[in-house]
């Protein structure tokens, strides 16, 4: 079987783009969720959409599982390879096929990096709104597969809200084209259904993105608070003021410590939390709204308020925020990032409970989150070399996720379920609801070859359990860091 598929792949791709040697495969064994690692049978590197279509059709014919991969930044293990399947690396499909400033759209291949779209659109005064923290390396194909978010979701939504058209090859081998350049649609929203499919429906080949005029003016304020709860209350006050900020973010003391060390960011002293609020719009509008924001924040008892005085100071504020994840890496050899959502009004309560859980388990938790969306990102710090530490960290992560669903929120705001949270899907959905989604998945991919083992709990494919060693780990088939 193995030689058979390699020889058939050779009819589609030159040997130099079919990687099978272990040294070549090593780089693809895991993604942003480094605790999981699997070696695929092969990695193929197509350069055209026709090659991707041919590969997927061959996989269909051979019942060979495949995992599409962009830059491998998934934090939920969404692009974790399958031991008995191949990885389709899409980075070379990195062309911006069209950029039409008059209609404010871009048509891109899946391997185009998120920020490249905004860079290409910038000369026309336009930008691509979704801005996940990994935007300088993550690809649009991955953003579509996982409906990626970012810091500006409250006002502008997630990736799905900016997808106007998709050409894709499905798990059946069918090639579809939905939508196009228009902002309006007729009939069911196929692009909406496809976005966030976590690679279980197929592979996006060409994606039409909506571009927006770049905001003329920003007003970014960083405010420090004695307690996390005060920062949370300030968020409520901003929401109640009737303003619609582009972003509302909070970093806690541990995250601040990390950002200071990593990018030499400076924050007000003696603060347990820092709040970042950003307004944007035409200068005349921002001039009026900033007074309201500044007054609202001033009334929320901050230790210090630091409005960015120029573009440079604004960028410095965002640099500190966006580096927080990787910065936490300096505080601890290992960490798990969680992505739960709680109703915004229960943020304070959620943070208190996370702090209590942190104390109970003796594991440090840093919090960096999209406060305006109620989207928490607790970073659970641990040392993987310590006996049972990963297990304890995963248990704590599980408790946090259960808390989120109990509060009426979600187990994932923007990272997706992937491999990491699949056991928690039943916390959000009934067996009938999961069955409905599985039926949809089977419609797109009846053989179950498109990214199997993601999203759905159960026996479909090997993955690591949250409790103890997986049998395949014991057998040495899969391993963690």
């Amino acid at each position: 079987m193995e030689n058979d598929f390699i020889s058939q792949l050779s009819l589609i791709l030159p040997p130099s783009r079919i990687l099978t040697r272990s040294v070549e495969l090593a780089a693809y064994e895991s993604d942003g969720l480094t605790a999981f690692r699997t070696r695929p049978l092969a990695v193929v590197v197509p350069e055209t959409t026709d090659e991707v279509i041919a590969i997927v059709r061959l996989c269909h014919e051979l019942k060979l599982p495949f995992v599409a991969r962009g830059s491998g930044t998934s934090l939920s293990g969404g692009s974790l390879p399958i031991a008995e399947g191949i990885v389709i690396a899409l980075n070379r499909l990195n062309r911006i096929l069209k950029l039409d400033p008059a209609q404010r759209i871009a048509v891109v291949e899946p391997g185009v990096v998120n920020t490249q779209v905004t860079t290409a659109a910038a000369p026309f005064g336009l930008h691509y709104a979704p801005d996940p923290s990994s935007q300088s390396i993550c690809t649009i194909g991955g953003n579509v597969a996982f409906n990626s978010g970012g810091a500006h979701c409250l006002k502008y939504g997630m990736t799905a809200n900016h997808i106007l058209g998709i050409k894709a090859v499905l798990g059946t081998g069918e090639v579809v084209e939905w939508g196009g350049g228009s902002r309006e649609r007729l009939g069911p929203d196929w692009c909406g259904l496809f976005t966030g499919n976590e690679g279980l429906f197929g592979i996006a080949l060409e994606i039409t993105l909506q571009l927006l005029p770049k905001a003329e003016c920003f007003h970014t304020v960083l405010a420090g608070y004695r307690t996390l709860e005060q920062a949370g209350d300030a968020v409520s006050a901003v929401i109640a003021s009737g303003l619609l900020p582009g972003a509302i973010e909070i970093m806690d003391a541990l995250a601040l410590e990390a950002a200071k060390a990593a990018v030499h960011a400076e924050y007000p002293l003696g603060c347990e939390a820092v709040l970042i609020v950003e307004l944007e719009g035409p200068r005349e509008v921002v001039a009026i709204e900033r007074e309201k924001l500044d007054a609202t924040l001033a009334a929320s008892a901050p230790v210090e308020m630091r409005p960015a005085r120029d573009a440079e100071e604004r960028l410095a504020i965002w640099k500190g925020r966006k580096s927080a994840f990787s910065a936490v890496g300096r505080l601890s050899p290992d960490f798990i990032v969680q992505d739960g959502v709680v109703p915004r009004r229960r943020l304070g309560e959620a943070l208190r409970r996370i702090a209590e859980m942190s104390q109970e388990t003796g594991l440090r938790v840093a919090n960096v989150f999209h406060a305006g969306d109620g989207n928490l990102h607790p970073l659970i710090l641990f040392d993987g070399r310590e006996e049972g530490a990963l297990h304890r960290a995963e248990e704590l992560a599980g408790r946090i996720l259960r808390m989120c669903t109990e509060m009426g929120g979600s187990i994932t705001g923007e990272h997706g379920i992937g491999v990491e949270k699949r056991e928690f899907l039943p916390n959000m959905f009934t067996p009938d609801e999961i069955d409905c989604m599985q039926r949809l998945r089977a419609a797109f991919d009846p053989l179950g070859i498109a990214n199997p083992g993601k999203m759905f709990p159960g026996k479909e494919a090997p993955a690591l359990s949250h409790v103890g060693l997986h049998p395949l780990e014991k057998a040495g088939v899969i391993s963690r860091d």
Partner: protein, 314 residues
């Protein structure tokens, strides 16, 4: 007459006949003019949850949009996609099933961009909740978005959760001569226009601005044109046109016989467009070519294996 007044009754209603279609206020009658037993949704009405601090509400599908708009306004919030046919009585379920957005979709997007979650009955009579109730959620497949524009052909919507925004301090409407370049210029400008429509005849363009009143006055001066009464948008929302079509601004062939909305992305007309959908009248539902893929049949099978609901082509 089948008039469920609770979600369990809706489930029973779906199973009560071999072929059913849900109808709200029938403000877009062509969409549900099919050979099927009608399930009247008007009794399944009411806002079930509204948390202004969360920017979300949940309402049963038969709730009149007018009622929702009033409840939101009381708390200083609104539905940015500008639902249509509100005075005519449209229901929130009908808004979702029809996928019809008003002029305000220009700024922040359409129905699909504000729907967060849905409870619906599939063709097997199962009451399912997909999506979520919080403003941000990436768990599971986005069936709520798929149901936008699905015309009741894949399931009956029982309850929906939407994201809302704080209402802007004021709005201001400018009327000016339409020119393609002028429209493109305003659409791509720093002004962040809230709506951008062209009136039938193709000579007059409307620009709506929203935000603090003092700022809008300054922006209006720079844009030019004549300030007119905002009430014109109410008329536009109560659309009397028979056909809807999707476009890109450069594709709009005939600005004369149509109301063009959303900066040239949508048109409403009484003459059949080259490609579009009929909202009223007895013409075919789909005008021109509708893209058809095998996956459509497969998804229909997945959600409605016995074709308890009509297909998109019925």
């Amino acid at each position: 007459m089948i008039t469920p007044s609770s979600l369990p009754e809706l489930r029973d209603a779906v199973l009560s006949a071999p072929r059913v279609i849900a109808v709200g206020a029938e403000t877009k009658p062509r969409l549900s003019a099919v050979d099927a037993v009608k399930i009247f949704m008007r009794q399944l009405s009411g806002i079930t949850e509204y948390e202004p601090s969360e920017f979300t509400f949940t309402a049963l599908a038969g709730t009149p949009v007018k009622e929702i708009i009033a409840a939101l306004a009381e708390k200083g919030q609104y539905l940015p996609f500008d639902p249509m046919l509100v005075e005519a009585g449209s229901t929130i379920g009908g808004v979702v099933a029809s996928g019809l957005s008003g002029p305000g979709r220009f700024r922040y997007g359409g129905v699909r961009d504000f729907i967060l979650g849905v409870r619906f009955v599939d063709g097997m009579g199962r009451l399912l909740r997909l999506g979520g109730k919080v403003v941000k959620n990436a768990a599971g497949f986005d069936v709520p978005k798929f149901l936008v524009g699905s015309l009741g052909r894949f399931g009956v919507i029982g309850e929906v959760t939407f994201k809302v925004f704080p209402m802007r301090e004021s709005t201001l409407t400018l009327q000016m001569r339409f020119e393609v370049e002028r429209m493109a210029h305003i659409a791509n400008s720093r002004f962040e226009a809230d709506a951008l429509d062209v009136l039938p005849g193709g000579e007059t363009m409307l620009v709506r601005l929203a935000g603090p009143g003092k700022a809008l006055e300054v922006l209006a001066k720079e844009i030019g044109g004549e300030v007119i009464d905002n009430a014109i948008w109410d008329e536009i929302r109560e659309t009397r046109w028979n056909f809807k079509s999707d476009h890109t601004p450069d594709q709009i062939g005939d600005f004369k016989a149509a109301h063009v909305s959303c900066g040239g992305n949508v048109a409403f007309s009484n003459t059949p467009p080259l490609r579009g959908m009929a909202l009223r009248g007895d013409s075919p539902l789909w005008i021109g070519d509708r893209p058809r893929f095998v996956i459509e049949t497969a998804v229909k099978q997945a959600l409605d294996p016995q074709n308890r609901f009509p297909t998109l082509d019925d």
